[in-house]
């Protein structure tokens, strides 16, 4: 399995760009990148475009990351899309909650680019060298 497309969800343009940069450096430059500013936009993208992975922030306006997980879980077509949560909230309770809600991984900021790469590989079951 390879990563051909990824959706990056974050209300911060800088963080969206940073994650795209890390993906490129991690060997995923060929993957098609989609971007969304919140959960609502992410759901719209996913309704029209299949992706291999969603990388999402939690604290966002309108529909936050937990809301996005809930909506995906209620949609038969989208509930299997893997979601990796990336958040500045580093408390255990937050990580446990989103994992129970169906997120496939959780990374607290600040993270080393290698940590993001490793989490993605765990979820996708691939090794990119």
């Amino acid at each position: 399995m390879t990563l051909s497309s990824v959706l990056i969800v974050d209300d911060s343009p800088m963080m969206r760009k940073f994650i795209a940069r890390v993906l490129a450096a991690a060997g995923f430059a060929e993957a098609r990148h989609y971007f969304a500013r919140d959960g609502n936009e992410a759901f719209e993208v996913l309704s029209g475009q299949a992706v291999d992975l969603v990388i999402s922030d939690i604290n966002m306006p309108n529909l936050d990351g937990e809301g996005l997980l809930r909506r995906l879980g209620e949609d038969d077509r989208l509930k299997t899309v893997p979601v990796l949560m990336v958040s500045s909230d580093s408390t255990h309770s937050r990580a446990e909650r989103v994992l129970q809600m169906g997120a496939r991984g959780y990374i607290a900021k600040p993270f080393h680019p290698e940590d993001l790469k490793a989490a993605m590989e765990r979820i996708l079951g691939v090794r990119h060298d």
Binding site: M14, D89, T91, H92, P110
Partner: protein, 145 residues
């Protein structure tokens, strides 16, 4: 040194190395008189308080270039100011998690201001870190709920 000050030092050094690809070269510094930006973030929950970050424009522009992997655009003050907010946001989340890993917090949006200014109230922990790119002042107010 207090637990809060130790946590602030550790979180700042980790953040600088992992996401801004730089290092803290000194834990003493001075913001000087250069124009800059500040960002304050309030948090509430099992503890409450504020994290405030301030730095000169030149430091913010250089850190933005590191963060995005792109050279500074001439006059890109919006990008430099946004960087200060982003750094404050990450730092706040990491600090509250370090101080109270079992806690539950709500972290507000960054409030950006032009100028490095002066905090409204004295911080419980404060440091001017000197990074390779220049000085960064971080102050934390931490209250038990």
């Amino acid at each position: 040194m207090t637990e809060l000050q130790t946590a602030l030092d550790q979180v700042t050094e980790h953040l600088a190395e992992t996401m801004f690809f730089t290092t803290v070269v000194d834990r003493k510094g001075d913001l000087g008189g250069e124009p800059g930006y500040s960002a304050s973030i309030a948090f509430s929950g099992t503890h409450a308080g504020t994290v405030r970050v301030a730095m000169p424009h030149s430091t913010a522009a250089a850190l933005a270039a590191n963060f995005l992997g792109e050279p500074d655009e001439e006059g890109a003050s919006g990008r430099a100011a946004a960087l200060v907010g982003e750094l404050a946001n990450i730092l706040c989340g990491s600090l509250v998690g370090r101080m109270d890993p079992a806690g539950q917090f709500t972290i507000g949006p960054p409030e950006l201001a032009v100028g490095t200014g002066t905090p409204d109230e004295p911080a419980d922990a404060r440091r001017v870190f000197t990074l390779e790119e220049g000085p960064v002042e971080i102050g934390v107010i931490w209250r038990d709920q």
